[in-house]
């Protein structure tokens, strides 16, 4: 039985396969966009036109990942989400298309690959910086409070650099000079974990351009160790 009734539009008289691709998405692709949109709508706050924190929580429980899990942050990174706790339609579309996930099941299955992708070198730096930016909720906000920094460090670096992260977090909670940290300091935590031998700290040189907070951390740690 011809499926003319299911056709969306009449195909042009003569058509080359290349034309098809450039003129409009193929049938399969269109369906994909539809499904992605439908998925979006199932979580979105209709009046806002966005998936809001409530929607995100529901999504999390549906995919079986806790909303405080680092994988959700990775998802946000993949979606290039601008506002913490929200996904816009465009972000959702671009992200899920890149993940090749047009339904919940595929989305669930996309996480391992996503994790691997994030952990690969140039991506990780980008993800790491993104994690900080994601916390800048106010307009013109440049710094993030220490509490959040500690949580973030744990979330983002904890698996790779357990010892350093635990130590740094202990120090951040102990010191009182800084209540907020800027992006430059944040970025340098990763550099520190990556470059400095731990826990002997042998190759750390405070006369170099390390941010002051790391100099103080190293001082504190060395005193503790002696």
């Amino acid at each position: 039985m011809p499926r003319t009734s299911k056709r969306k539009a009449a195909p042009p008289a003569s058509v080359k396969s290349s034309d098809l691709h450039s003129v409009r998405p193929g049938k399969g692709a269109t369906k994909e966009v539809d499904r992605i949109d439908r998925l979006f709508n199932s979580y979105a706050n209709q009046s806002l036109g966005l998936i809001d924190p409530e929607g995100v929580e529901k999504l999390c429980s549906d995919v079986g990942v806790d909303h405080t899990d680092v994988r959700i942050l990775m998802l946000a990174w993949k979606l290039k989400a601008e506002k913490q706790g929200y996904f816009s339609k465009d972000e959702w579309r671009t992200g899920l298309k890149a993940l090749k996930a047009d339904n919940l099941d595929k989305l669930k299955k996309a996480f391992p690959a996503l994790e691997t992708e994030v952990m690969t070198p140039p991506n990780f730096q980008d993800f790491y910086a993104y994690a900080f930016k994601y916390c800048l909720t106010e307009e013109k906000q440049k710094c993030v409070d220490i509490e959040t920094i500690c949580e973030l460090l744990h979330l983002v670096l904890g698996s790779q650099f357990r010892a350093q992260v635990d130590s740094i977090i202990e120090y951040l909670k102990f010191q009182s000079e800084y209540r907020m940290l800027n992006m430059d300091q944040w970025v340098n935590f990763y550099r520190f974990c990556h470059e400095i031998s731990f826990p002997d700290l042998k190759n750390y040189d405070a006369d170099l351009a390390w941010p002051l907070i790391l100099d103080s951390f190293v001082e504190w740690l060395k005193e503790k160790q002696s």
Binding site: K142, N182, D184, V187, N188, R191, L208, A209, L212, D215
Partner: protein, 682 residues
């Protein structure tokens, strides 16, 4: 003699057989009769003819070239053999003779000269046999000789003696003579170097650090001649002056640090009542030290830059040490205050005072925290000017011009402004007096004068909304009207904490004039309407902070002069106290000054300076980055320190903190590729 025509070969055969071979036999001591004159003639003629063969009517000396070559060949064959056999022994003998001469024996200098000339001659053909065979051995041996000698002398002689007697200067002289007598001039430099090396360089540590006669001892005992000699000798050796300058530096640092420790000890061991003015003593001693060693650098060390540097660095070390919690900057400011304060140095002549001020300013050059000094100085200057405690206006101006010359106009601009303000203020005072004399209804009712200050020049004073007694309020009002009529767009902020007041206390026995601060006067006047007031009542009436109120009430009720009776009669003020006017108070004087315990301004001054430093460093960093666009961290730190060097020495932590702040404020960013580079964000 007929010119026989013969070939060069034939001629050479004759020469060889009858000349060279014969000569060799003679030289080797074989029985061979010496040349007869006839034999000489034959040889000579043969050679001549050999060279000047007539050919085709033209005399040519083409053959001479061949002849020379043959001669050279003979030479080449024979001489090296001789040389190799003989030279080794010859050199040993020469060296032995040299050493004998060193020990004082007479030797045949002429013979040595001939032998060594021979080496030199050969050396011109046979590659440096003079340098390599003779000279090298001789230098080696000389080194050993002097090494032995110097070890012996260093044990026996004192440092000055070592340098002088039969030692360094003498030895060098003799070696130079030796060279001129029988060695090649080129040897002199190497020989002198060698001797110096053994006598001065190798033994430098032992020589200079000799307990009782080494460099430090000579300095202590002011042995100018010996020190000059040492300078002269070591100047010629490589790094010699660096070594001495380093000992000089350590010596000065040691002496200076000892003075500081002395002052520290004196300060912490004095009973509280007897406060030794330690900074007076300390700085006098430091300036003496400075004068002494600056003179040494000029006279003994001929103004050499290494010694200037050594002195500077030494002073920078101990001039920045704190004494009993006070920074050197503060102490120096106190020292200046003592000189410029009334009753401080009236007995000294103007010249002496100016000299002292000059020396003080010179010492400031060694102090890192110049901005801290400036702030303390300014605070004390303000006190002197406002309470008329300045001994001599000219001296005040003199030191300011000295400071300006040394540290630049920006350093002294505020201070100069303060001095000018006082002059201007006096003018206004005169005008004001005229104003209310001519304006009967504008009279303030009491004798009253105002000092108007330009706020930017003076240290910051907190102004409180002290509730003034009516009498005073009227004065303020009158002055305000006057001032507004004289000027436009000026706003007056009243600093009552700096005012003085003279009020009459009508006590039972007699009336006594009390010289008090405005705050104290305001408090006392309250008792005109009530005999007894509680702490909180006074607080409400006056509207002062607790700190100020406590200090003020303490001065009136718990100190030397108890104008008020406090209940309970404890030594400290508490908010539950009650106060009564002390009718029974009396004193033998008719007029007494009731001081208020001074605030410890040190903390505040340090706070102000720290705050200023933050913005100064920010400005410097932005300036540098704006012009360089991209700069490495260490370079940035270096330039920052350099730019700020005449105000203070910023430590690297502070600079890092400021960079951090500037990053947050989007002035700078760190380069992504190279994290030790920073970029200016326009």
């Amino acid at each position: 003699m007929a010119a026989k025509s013969f070939t060069v070969e034939e001629g050479w055969e004759y020469v060889k057989n009858n000349g060279i071979t014969k000569l060799i036999r003679i030289l080797e001591g074989l029985p061979e009769p010496s040349f007869s004159p006839a034999e000489y003639m034959m040889l000579y003629t043969t050679i001549y003819n050999m060279c000047f063969q007539k050919r085709t009517h033209v005399y040519s000396n083409d053959n001479s070239k061949e002849a020379y070559e043959k001669y050279k060949k003979a030479f080449d064959e024979y001489i090296p053999m001789v040389y190799l056999e003989v030279s080794g022994n010859a050199i040993d003998i020469v060296i032995t003779l040299i050493n004998k001469e060193r020990e004082g024996q007479q030797i045949d200098q002429g013979l040595l000269k001939n032998v060594l000339d021979f080496f030199i001659e050969i050396g011109s053909v046979y590659k440096k046999c003079y340098e390599m065979d003779f000279e090298a051995h001789m230098l080696q041996d000389t080194g050993d000789y002097y090494s032995r000698k110097s070890s012996k002398w260093i044990m026996e002689d004192s440092c000055p003696d070592y340098m002088l007697k039969a030692s360094v200067e003498e030895c060098l002289k003799r070696e130079r003579d030796r060279v001129s007598h029988y060695m090649h001039p080129s040897t002199e430099k190497k020989l002198v170097e060698k001797v110096q090396h053994e006598l001065l360089v190798v033994k430098s540590k032992q020589l200079l650090e000799k307990e009782c006669s080494g460099f430090c001892a000579l300095l202590r005992e002011r042995k100018a001649e010996d020190l000059s000699r040492m300078y002269r000798l070591y100047k010629e050796t490589p790094q010699g002056l660096e070594i001495i300058a380093s000992i000089f530096n350590k010596h000065i640092t040691g002496e200076g640090t000892a003075l500081v420790k002395e002052a520290e000890y004196a300060a912490t061991n004095q009973a509280a009542s007897k406060v030794v003015v330690q900074e007076q003593v300390l700085f006098r001693k430091i300036t003496e030290l400075h004068d002494k060693y600056v003179a040494d650098v000029n006279d003994l060390f001929l103004n050499h830059h290494l010694f200037h540097k050594a002195l500077k660095e030494a002073f920078e070390i101990f001039c920045n040490k704190a004494v009993a919690g006070s920074s050197s900057a503060e102490l120096l400011a106190k020292f200046c205050d003592n000189i410029l304060h009334k009753g401080g140095s009236e007995k000294l002549s103007d010249e002496v005072i100016e000299e002292t001020l000059e020396k003080v300013v010179k010492l400031l050059a060694y102090i890192h925290d110049k901005d801290l000094f400036a702030e303390f100085y300014r605070k004390k200057l303000a006190h002197r000017l406002l309470f008329d405690r300045s001994a001599n206006e000219d001296h005040e101006k003199t030191i300011l011009s000295m400071l300006k010359q040394q540290c630049g106009g920006q350093f002294t601009s505020k201070m100069e402004g303060m001095v000018t303000d006082i002059t201007l203020a006096r003018e206004y005072q005169t005008k004001f007096a005229e104003y209310f004399h001519s304006n009967s209804n504008a009279t303030p009712g009491i004798d009253f004068s105002v000092t108007v200050l330009t706020s930017g020049f003076w240290p910051t004073y907190k102004s409180f909304n002290l509730s003034l007694p009516t009498e005073m309020a009227k004065c303020v009002q009158v002055f305000k009207e006057f001032y507004d009529s004289e000027t436009k767009h000026r706003r007056l902020t009243w600093i009552y904490s700096l005012g003085t007041c003279s009020i009459n206390g009508k006590f039972e026995t007699k009336t006594i004039e009390l010289i008090v601060s405005t705050y104290q006067a305001a408090a006392l006047l309250l008792f005109n309407s009530s005999d007894r007031l509680s702490y909180s009542e006074i607080e409400t009436h006056l509207n002062l902070t607790d700190d100020d109120l406590v200090r003020l009430l303490h001065s009136l009720s718990c100190a030397k002069y108890k104008i008020l009776i406090k209940e309970p009669n404890t030594k400290t003020i508490s908010p539950t106290d009650n106060f009564e006017f002390n009718y029974k108070f009396t004193d033998r004087m008719r007029r007494i000054k009731i001081p208020v315990a001074p605030l410890d301004e040190r903390k505040k001054v340090i706070e102000v300076v720290d705050k200023d430093r933050r913005s100064t460093i920010d400005a410097a960093i932005v300036r540098i980055m704006k012009s360089r666009k991209v700069l490495g961290f260490q370079q940035l730190v270096m330039e920052c320190v350099e730019q700020l060097s005449n105000m203070f020495k910023p430590d690297i932590k502070l600079i890092k903190k400021r960079i951090e702040d500037l990053i947050t404020r989007d002035y700078l960013e760190r380069d992504e590729e190279n994290p030790s580079m920073f970029r200016y964000l326009a």
